[in-house]
Amino acid sequence: MGSSLPSVAEQLLKDLQRTYLETKQIPDDLLIAKLRFVFGPCALQALDLVDQRSVTCVSSPSGRDAFQVLGGSGRLYTCFTSCHYCPCPAFSFSVLRRNESLMCKHLLAACLSQAMGLWQQEQVSDQQMTHILSGQTEAST
């Protein structure tokens, strides 16, 4: 897989992006059904996270940015959407170890947010960004 998804998943995210740009509306039932088919049960959970505005794009003066997703447990996960990584246990087990899922709900939420432009924005310093990227910073509400 490398950093790329299967082509059907990539195309679906592009369709979602195009649809949202045109209609400014959350995906209709058909698109949601496709998301569930491709990404599995975590699709609805990911859409819920997007609805709840749980995805934040943190940016620093260097131009570097990263997506942080607030999970249901209150833990904050820093996801890399460029190459598909999330530090949560579900990603480690279902995606990395078992290869059963393409993504976890946090990573999918970040990708969906990116496709639809629906994220909170937060500015941090370059040093704070280093801590976030290296996994040293994790906040819980």
């Binding site: 490398g2 082509s7 998943a9 260097s62 131009g63 570097r64 890399f80 170890r97 280093t130 290296s134």
Partner: protein, 280 residues
């Protein structure tokens, strides 16, 4: 990354080399995993670093746990006329732990705003040593640390590529090269993760694989010869080279004629590969 290895192979080829190390243009080949014995891998990494710095004028970051004191490859034998000032573009960073390695890589963006050009090649020597030193216990999932550092390298390279392209009229690429020894003496205990599992995780984030397989003659190693396999996962392609460590210490490469091939059907690997490539 395959482009730099192509330069290395042609630069240190025995005789004229007409075949190029080329992959289809739609394959992102800027991240590479080097598999092989720790010593020869280190030598190849060093050659790649010096070649990138001298022949291509690239800035190189070389992360390693162990300072270079001696090499099985005599650099001067491989690169006669090498001047020390040519190595000024290679910055060696001696990092002891996985945590320090992650922090150093994560901090590379802090240098991007400086006037000096960011690194175009990031090398990590013996990632397996960093992972082995960081294991936290038998019940802890050990896949996330290796995925994190590999993904961080990939994401950092993507960011630095954007910086390089913004400064060079759309040109410029930041590459990553990571060496990993999948089988280590004494490492196969009951708590160790299967090497295949670790490699499958690394394959997600490092798209090109370069395998150094020592040649055995009459069942014996130590012939100072290796078969070199360059492969990408999607689409499956393999290029084969031959590498010899000469008596004087120099490394020489030669292409294997007819060494380009599609990966043959192997039941387990082809199923996994199809899943990754999204076929069927």
């Amino acid at each position: 990354m395959a482009d730099i290895l192509g330069v290395v192979f042609r630069r240190f080829a025995s005789g004229n080399v007409t075949s190029d190390v080329m992959f289809p243009s739609h394959v992102e080949g800027n991240t590479l995993l080097l598999l092989g014995d720790v010593n020869i891998s280190r030598s190849v990494l060093f050659l790649a670093a010096v070649t990138a710095a001298t022949d291509l004028g690239l800035k190189v970051l070389f992360f390693t746990q162990t300072p270079f004191q001696s090499l099985p490859v005599s650099l001067r034998a491989s690169i006669p006329g090498l001047k020390l000032e040519s190595l000024k573009n290679v910055k060696f960073v001696y990092v002891k732990s996985l945590e320090d390695l992650r922090e150093d890589i994560a901090s590379l963006h802090e240098l991007a705003s400086e006037a000096a050009s960011p690194s175009s090649l990031i090398i990590v020597d013996s990632l397996d040593h960093y992972l082995h030193g960081s294991r936290v216990g038998p019940l802890q999932d050990d896949l996330s640390p290796v995925a994190h550092v590999a993904a961080l390298l990939h994401d950092t390279a993507a960011f630095l590529t954007q910086i390089l392209q913004s400064r060079a009229d759309g040109q410029g690429l930041c590459r990553v090269m990571v060496s990993f020894q999948s089988e280590r003496e004494g490492s196969r205990d009951s708590e160790a993760l299967a090497p295949e599992l670790l490699l499958s995780v690394l394959d997600r984030y490092l798209q090109v694989r370069c395998t150094l397989e020592e040649v055995k003659r009459d069942g014996e190693v130590g012939q100072n010869e290796w078969q070199v396999y360059l492969s990408v996962v999607c689409p499956s392609q393999v290029q084969q080279w031959h590498m010899v460590l000469q008596t004087g210490g120099a490394l020489e490469f030669s292409p294997v004629i007819g060494g380009e091939q599609q990966i043959l059907d192997q039941p387990d690997e082809s199923k996994q590969e199809n899943e990754r490539c999204g076929d069927g």
